[in-house]
């Protein structure tokens, strides 16, 4: 339990509990600190408002010198999010810095929702609509937000 990685993750968790960024929550699994579940809430006054988007974060022993793997479990419609939930975000790849922590990662992903980068598309349809037909794009996003509630209910039923 005393590797630099695990100590650092404990501290990330502590920070997440005491000072969570707005609209974000995250915690490690009970039996595995290397695996976290997180939820990002859609920012208010955007098409994403009201959405609850679930993610899993997987760390390696090289954290924080290597970024964790972050994927959405909720089905997303976004120019920089792949169909399988993978995220195309520079700080999770070549712009990673060991200074970033869990809360910084999730905050970046949250801002990516409302501020996509259509130049590196991971979902070409979303990217095209975002650039060419913003109205239809927002409609699709809102549909997706509603679906995220259904998924929520399904999970609650189980």
């Amino acid at each position: 339990m005393s590797t630099p990685c695990k100590r650092r993750l404990l501290r990330d968790f502590k920070k997440m509990k005491t000072d969570p960024p707005q609209g974000i929550s995250a915690s490690p699994l009970n039996d595995n600190i290397m695996q976290w579940n997180a939820v990002i809430f859609g920012p208010d006054e955007t098409p994403w408002e009201g959405g609850t988007f679930k993610l899993t974060i997987t760390f390696t022993e090289e954290y924080p010198n290597k970024p964790p793997k972050v994927v959405f479990n909720t089905k997303m419609f976004h120019p920089n999010i792949y169909n399988d939930g993978g995220i195309c975000l520079d700080i999770l790849q070549n712009q990673w810095s060991p200074i970033y922590d869990v809360s910084a990662i999730l905050a970046s992903i949250q801002s990516l929702l409302t501020d996509p980068n259509p130049n590196s598309p991971a979902n070409s349809e979303a990217s095209r609509l975002y650039q060419e037909n913003r109205k239809l794009y927002e409609k699709k996003v809102k549909e997706m937000v509603e679906k995220s509630w259904e998924e929520e209910e399904e999970n609650a039923d189980e």
């Binding site: 650092r8 924080p64 700080i91 200074i99």
Partner: protein
């Protein structure tokens, strides 16, 4: 590189100049001679190729024909030479060692250009390499204060915190972990930056050396050495498998260089030495070989039938003089005709290298198909001989190992002979391998050579060399060791080496120049 640039020296004068020859690497670089006092005194001396001349062969020693300016560098030499360049740059430009290294890497080790640019527009150079000159390469925090490391969140005395010139502090442990992970990631670690988000300050080598463990630093040094070769147009890796050495050529004018591991390769394309044919001819040829390989397969099959008794014969040595083990018929492996026709004793010549275009006079109407067929025939003629020498060459490389045994055997047979007395065998085998290597490529060269007087001359030289090579091959392979005639072997070796030299000189001076 244009062939007219080639430095031509007579082999004799060459060997005299260099017999005592350790050269000081890098002394060709302007001004480094004067800068004798390096902080880290690493006066490396690297042996020049083909140093051992024992008087028997020095007039025709092929290793040193006209290109003896190159230097073979081991992994250790590479690190040392690279460090010397950094130290020189550090002294001339007055910048810290780590920065000197970063500048050189940013300039692909082109020291002259770096110096010019640096004195011309220092700021541009600094920006290009992402370094900061007006500061120490790394800082320690204020020892009177407590600081929190932004990576592990532990509190430390400032004296234990480190930063690059950007003053983004990390604790020593986290900086070490960060750098070690970068190094484990591969050669990109040479471009590692400050761990702070969006900070572009390049990690300084001095900092790496200071904090990472020995194992990681040695990996890092290897990456630097590798960049020293990969980015540097004057140094090329030896292509021999598992060699790991590199060869340095001061002016970049040499065609063929020889690594200490005895691998000969072309300094321009990095492939196995292919004189007399040019790099572009070789590329064309290899492509053709690939394209035509299906047609060629049956012709290069390993077995042939004895022309007399039809028994299948596998060629298991390099010599083309075949004797059927059943009927004792002697024939030439290339043309399958009686070997007697080949010896000069019967007034004949070794004709197997000549390709005679079919008499065209009588043929007035020629279809495309016939042209294609004729073209293929021509190609097959050259390819067969090329492939044949290639195969012999491979077999003779095994002979090199056998030669060692033969030499040992000989010293045992005759108690009075020492190792030096039997060294001629090694020389003979090496010459044989060299001749085969070049003969192989003479067929590529010949294939692309236009019909005419030059070609006739070239084929004459080729034929001459081929004959002596076959003779040498035969003596070495089929004579029992105890019957080795030292004088005969030395004479044949010398004769082969001289002919090879004539052929190569002829093709590079006479023929090539006229061929544009």
């Amino acid at each position: 590189m244009s062939k007219s640039n080639k430095k031509i020296q007579s082999p004799q004068s060459d060997s005299m100049d260099d017999t005592d020859g350790d050269i000081d690497y890098g002394s060709d670089e302007g001004g480094s001679d004067e800068e004798g006092d390096f902080d880290e005194d690493e006066d490396i001396e690297i042996e020049i190729e083909g140093e051992e001349t024992d008087g028997i062969y020095d007039d025709t020693d092929l290793n040193r024909s006209k290109n003896s300016d190159f230097t073979s560098l081991s992994a250790e030499d590479l690190i040392n030479s690279q460090q010397e360049q950094v130290i020189h740059c550090h002294e001339v430009l007055g910048v810290p060692l780590g920065i000197a290294g970063a500048l050189l890497r940013a300039y692909a080790w082109d020291k002259e250009k770096l110096f010019l640019d640096f004195f011309d527009n220092r700021d541009k150079v600094i920006k290009k390499a992402n370094v900061n000159l007006n500061d120490y390469v790394f800082h320690k925090g204020d020892a009177k204060k407590e600081m929190t490391c932004p990576v592990c969140y532990d509190d430390y005395n400032g004296g234990l915190m480190l930063s690059l010139s950007c003053k983004h502090f990390l604790c020593r442990r986290c900086m070490k972990d960060y750098l070690e992970v970068e190094i484990k990631d591969g050669p990109a670690c040479l471009h590692a930056k400050c761990p702070y988000p969006k900070c572009n300050v390049l990690v300084d080598e001095t900092l790496v050396k200071d904090i990472v463990d020995k194992k990681h630093y040695s990996t890092y040094s290897k990456f630097i050495a590798r960049s020293f070769v990969d980015d540097n147009p004057r140094i090329k890796w030896c292509p021999a498998p598992d060699c790991g050495r590199a060869v340095y050529c001061p002016e970049g004018i040499t065609d063929t260089v020889t690594c200490t591991c005895s691998c000969k390769f072309c300094f321009q394309c990095g492939k196995e030495s292919h004189v007399p044919c040019s790099c572009s001819e070789l590329v064309k040829w290899l492509k053709k070989e690939k394209d035509e390989s299906e047609t060629a397969t049956w012709l290069t099959a390993n077995t042939k039938d004895c022309p007399k008794c039809n028994r299948s014969i596998e060629k298991n040595g390099g010599c083309n003089h075949m004797t059927c083990s059943l009927c004792k018929y002697e024939f030439c492996w290339v043309c399958m005709e009686d070997w007697k026709d080949h010896s000069s004793g019967t007034g004949g010549y070794y004709k197997c290298n000549r390709y005679k275009p079919e008499e065209l006079a009588g043929r007035t109407k020629e279809t495309d198909r016939e042209t294609a067929r004729r073209e293929l025939q021509k190609y097959m003629h050259y390819f067969k001989r090329y492939a044949n020498h290639d195969k012999s060459q491979k077999l003779e490389k095994q002979l090199r190992e056998k030669a060692q045994d033969k030499m040992k055997e000989l010293t045992q047979i005759n108690k009075y002979s020492s190792w030096v007395d039997v060294e001629y065998i090694q020389k003979a085998v090496q010459t044989l391998i060299d001749c085969r290597g070049s003969l192989k490529y003479t067929y590529v060269y010949g294939y692309y050579l236009d019909e005419g007087q030059e070609k006739n001359l070239f084929e004459y030289l080729q034929e001459d060399l081929e004959r002596v090579t076959e003779r040498l091959s035969e003596i070495l392979e089929s004579t029992p060791v105890e019957q080795f005639d030292r004088d005969e072997i030395i004479a044949t070796t010398r004769s082969a080496a001289t002919r090879l030299q004539h052929l190569l000189e002829g093709s590079s001076n006479g023929l090539v120049v006229e061929r544009k």
